[in-house]
């Protein structure tokens, strides 16, 4: 029954994924049975007993414990899986390095005998390496065909008609698994405390006004954990997937879970609106995603990540010597095929309008160099060379990225995330830290080799704009959760920007570190809100530090981490991002904005985070009602805070910890980095002190510059961050300047920012109102024209049937009645014969007999006479 984890340790991750699903199903089924037996709860028989067994009138804590147990177990599984993965991978890398070392030796050896010996040894080692590689793949990947769209024979296997479900573990998703399950476990734990109000049989919702006062409803404790479990399963499945199709399914599941959880208090108009907004905004992104998927499916015939990348990117020439175009898109140009020709010849050309698709099983040595020619069949199979228009590749990348824009709330689809604050605070933490928004960034990282340079530039600028816009809005927000929401949008912008400028590890490292400190900050704000009895407005707080010390201190850790104070986890990731952006702009001077925006925003981030902390915890209380009732939250809620605070500090540490480039987590991520990153942004062979590098484009490359200017970027960022702290302290801690007066100086700017750059208004004017106008026009058309036609048809049908009825009544019924009447008349006239008198019957008999006799004798006479 239990899979053999020593044989296939990758299944640990599969189990970790399925555990939350199991928890969801168990709770879901028991709720179903509960609802089934609810009508009989007043009966005095077994059905009422069953009703009580499945929950009864009082919402119980059991669903929470099931969900918590599942996610904690999932955490343990993924932690065990990750550890054994790192060990296994370490062995594998060790062997690879040995082979590489050995491969260099024979060339140096002069003695032919020794050289032969070395070559023999090398062969043996290579064999061992291949064996280890197969073993490694069997350990950490697997899949089964879920849907075959066509009954395929072995010969037909090429045509890409299989949708598979599978997993493939690498450093990225191993680390992501541990992060998601860990953060989600703590959020589950926190939620048991935070959602305890929902345990009452009736809950009063102060935000919903009905005619009889506030709304009273049943407590929905179990339902919350039900959704939470499904959310975790969807996210884990998304990370686990080895193909885009599985990702897409989980993607939509994540969407629906966020809809359910944001709209958890669905009786509130604002909550149900926010849930709709999140869902619909994501639909816009998903439309792009589907377009991308369609392009990939029709042109490549597979959704498997590895296979996609292997087809669109060039393989290496030989194992020990990279080809000039290894892991790059190979563009080519050639004549359009004339009819009748079955093949066409293309020439490799850096500005060609098509890219070469490589055979699926392309081996080392099938790489291409500039000037090479390739023969392409008219209808290439997956095992042959093919072509794809270059613009289509760009479109596929942009389509997938549009999906990520929606999920990760990037400009211009960022509007849903702040509204999503309507959900319970632990949900906000989950969405912002571990699940929903992380999915977009994760997918960009996962699909990285798919993005053409143009698409990457779009990603970088989208991230750049997003991070700046969101940070400026966060500066003026007064709702504690809104500040955090905009800060999430801004940080996600950082990640996108990093990915766009080639900082693959930097962006994903920031995703991981951000998950911890943003979960910490959100849970901290949840603790504040809980302690202040659902007060979220920071202008009514202040001076809460003595009342809730643990919350205040842990949140301060989160603030320092997000600001990028050295030695906190945010420092490592943010410095990497800025270094990468600097390296990129040093090469591409025209994209200066891509460094200036994140640098300025680093200061803004620090400013608004400190502003938030000061407004909440420092100074004098501004609202004594709130202050007097404020209390520290129970240990169930503060314990996760402490755990997250520890992680927020230490999660990215490496040795030495004061070296921003030595982060252990970053090194782990580095192992999973696609080769295309190096191909697109420069090649660094040896990341030691003296690295050699091969230039593909210019004499210098982005990655090298980033490496070189890491400290420069870091110190610039530190300067800006310190400026932000000083400014925030001056305004909100020491009150040297009155913030209100400062706002008076630029009322227009403040209004502009407070209205979130008028994005909602803009969309309302540009999209919502026209959509409504069109809808109204269609409604009018529907009501007058279409309904008119239908009513006309109906009316004429009624008229026709009326005529038909008349014909039926008069003619058809008349004939039938006539027959009946005639029959009746005949009967009536004949009844006189039946006198009932015995004697008359006898008389008739006799007369008839005599009559017969006469007739017979007449005939008999004729016969005899004749």
């Amino acid at each position: 029954m239990f899979p053999d984890f020593t044989e296939r340790p990758g299944l640990l991750f599969v189990v970790a994924t399925l555990l939350p699903l199991a928890s969801f199903l168990v709770v879901f089924l028991s709720f179903g049975l509960w609802a089934l037996f609810r009508p009989y709860r007043d009966e005095r028989d077994g059905r009422a007993e069953l009703y009580n067994i499945f929950g009864g009138d009082h919402p119980g804590r059991l669903p929470a414990f099931i969900a918590l147990g599942a996610i904690v177990l999932a955490f343990l599984c993924s932690a065990a899986g990750a550890i054994s993965f790192f060990v296994d991978q370490g062995n594998y890398h060790h062997l690879t390095e040995e082979v590489e070392e050995l491969a260099k030796k024979p060339a140096r050896e002069r003695d032919p005998e020794k050289r032969a010996e070395l070559l023999k040894e090398l062969e043996e080692k290579k064999e061992a390496l291949t064996k280890t590689e197969i073993e490694f793949n069997r350990h950490w990947s697997g899949s089964f065909d879920w849907i075959r769209l066509r009954p395929t024979t072995a010969a037909d296997m090429d045509s890409g008609t299989v949708l598979a479900v599978g997993f493939r573990i690498d450093n990225l998703n191993a680390v992501m698994f541990v992060m998601v399950t860990f953060v989600a476990s703590l959020i589950h734990l926190f939620s048991i405390g935070y959602m305890s109000e929902e345990l009452h049989p009736t809950v009063e919702d102060h935000h919903v006004h009905t005619e009889e006062g506030h709304l009273h409803r049943r407590g929905r404790f179990g339902r919350f954990f039900l959704f939470l479990s499904l959310f975790c399963f969807s996210m884990l499945n998304l990370i686990l997937a080895d193909n885009l199709f599985q990702v897409f399914l989980s993607w939509e599941l994540v969407g629906i879970c966020s809809f359910l959880l944001i709209g958890f208090y669905y009786e509130r108009q604002s909550a149900s609106d926010a849930a709709n907004k999140a869902f619909i905004t994501n639909r816009v992104g998903d439309a792009g995603f589907i377009l991308g998927l369609l392009i990939i499916w029709t042109s490549l015939g597979t959704f498997n990540f590895e296979e996609i990348f292997r087809r669109i990117r060039s393989p290496e020439h030989r194992a020990d010597e990279p080809a000039q175009l290894a892991h790059q898109f190979v563009r080519a140009s050639g004549e359009a095929s004339s009819p009748g020709e079955t093949t066409r010849t293309l020439t490799v050309d850096p500005t060609g309008s098509e890219i070469i698709l490589f055979p699926r099983e392309a081996e080392h040595g099938e790489g291409l160099s500039p000037g090479d020619t390739v023969k392409v069949a008219a209808n290439p199979k997956a095992r042959q060379f093919g072509t794809l228009p270059y613009w289509m590749l760009v479109a596929a990348g942009l389509g997938v990225f549009l999906g990520c824009v929606g999920k990760s709330a990037q400009f211009p689809l960022q509007v849903w995330l702040p509204d999503a604050m309507e959900g319970p605070t632990p949900v906000s933490a989950l969405i912002h830290a571990a699940t929903m928004v992380a999915a977009g960034v994760y997918l960009v990282g996962r699909c990285y080799p798919l993005f053409a340079p143009e698409a990457l530039l779009v990603i970088a600028y989208t991230g750049g704009i997003t991070l700046f816009v969101a940070a400026t809005i966060a500066v003026v927000m007064t709702d504690i959760k809104k500040v955090l929401a905009y800060s999430t949008v801004s940080q996600l912008g950082y990640m996108m920007l990093a990915l766009g400028v080639g900082g693959w590890t930097a962006g994903l490292l920031h995703l991981l570190t951000h998950a911890f400190f943003k979960a910490l900050l959100f849970l901290g704000s949840g603790s504040v809100i809980y302690g202040c009895h659902h007060e979220q407005d920071m202008t009514k707080m202040g001076g809460l530090y003595p009342k809730m010390k643990i919350t205040a201190l842990t949140m301060l850790v989160g603030v320092l981490a997000i600001a990028g104070i050295p030695l906190f986890s945010g420092w490592y990731s943010k410095d990497s991002i800025l270094a990468q952006a600097l390296g990129f702009t040093l090469i591409h001077k025209e994209h200066l904005l891509l460094f200036v925006l994140p640098l300025v925003t680093a200061g803004l981030t620090t400013f608004y985070m400190f502003r938030m902390w000061y407004l909440t915890f420092a100074g004098t209380p501004r609202d004594h009602h709130v202050y007097d009732h404020a209390t520290e939250s129970p240990w169930l809620m503060t314990a996760p805070l402490v755990a997250l605070a520890v992680c927020s500090v230490a999660v990215a540490w490496g040795w030495p910890i004061w070296d921003a480039k030595a982060s252990w987590l970053e090194h782990q991520l580095h192992h999973a980095q696609p080769h295309s990153v190096v191909a697109d942004f420069g090649h660094v062979f040896d990341e030691g002190e003296n690295f050699e590098w091969v230039q593909f484009r210019d004499h210098v490359n982005e990655r090298l510059k980033a490496h070189e200017y890491h400290e420069v970027a870091g110190s610039m960022a530190l300067g800006v961050v310190l400026l932000g702290i000083v400014l925030a302290s001056a305004l909100y801690l020491y009150r040297w300047l009155d913030p209100d007066e400062a706002l008076q100086q630029a009322p227009g700017l403040h209004r502009f920012l407070a209205h979130k750059w008028y994005f909602d208004e803009l969309y309302s004017v540009v999209l919502v109102r026209p959509a409504l106008a069109v809808a109204h026009a269609f409604k009018w058309f529907d009501l007058t024209v279409i309904d008119g036609i239908i009513h006309g048809v109906a009316r004429s049908t009624v008229q026709i049937s009326r005529w038909d009825g008349r014909f039926d009544n008069l003619v058809v019924d008349g004939m039938v009645n006539l027959v009946a009447r005639v029959t009746y008349r005949i009967g009536a006239s004949m009844r006189g014969v039946q006198t009932g008198s015995l004697r008359s019957y006898v008389l008739f008999l006799v007369l008839a007999a005599v009559g017969l006799f006469v007739i017979l004798s007449y005939f008999v006479t004729i016969v005899f006479a004749g």
Binding site: M830, R831, V833, Q834, T835, S837, R839, V842
Partner: protein
């Protein structure tokens, strides 16, 4: 006086039949009607016996049919008398002219 031939039998049968029919048609008393019926049947019996006597191919059959008619007459009389009794119970008379329930 010669031997009686077939014609004599037939004439006797016809006479009995005619008497029976006339009796059925004229009597108002149900018992009388029944008597008429007996006469009609006896007329038929005489015919059968006559044919049995003078037609050699019909010798056994004629006799058997005569016996059948006698048995049938007895059965019929029993049933008819039962009907008459019931009729009397219902109408306190055996006048067949009052039996008009089957009038159309």
């Amino acid at each position: 006086m010669s031997e009686p031939g077939l014609n004599h039998f037939l004439i006797l049968g016809a006479l009995l039949f005619t008497c029976g029919v006339v009796c059925m048609a004229t009597k108002r008393n149900a018992i009388g009607v029944l008597m008429g019926v007996e006469l009609v049947l006896n007329g038929a019996t005489v015919n059968f016996v006559g044919f049995a006597r003078f037609n050699p191919t019909f010798e056994i059959e004629g006799q058997i049919f005569a016996l059948f008619v006698i048995v049938l007459a007895a059965a019929e009389a029993a049933v008819a008398l039962a009907i008459v009794l019931n009729f009397y119970n219902n109408h306190l008379t055996v006048d067949v002219d009052t039996a008009e329930d089957l009038k159309g």
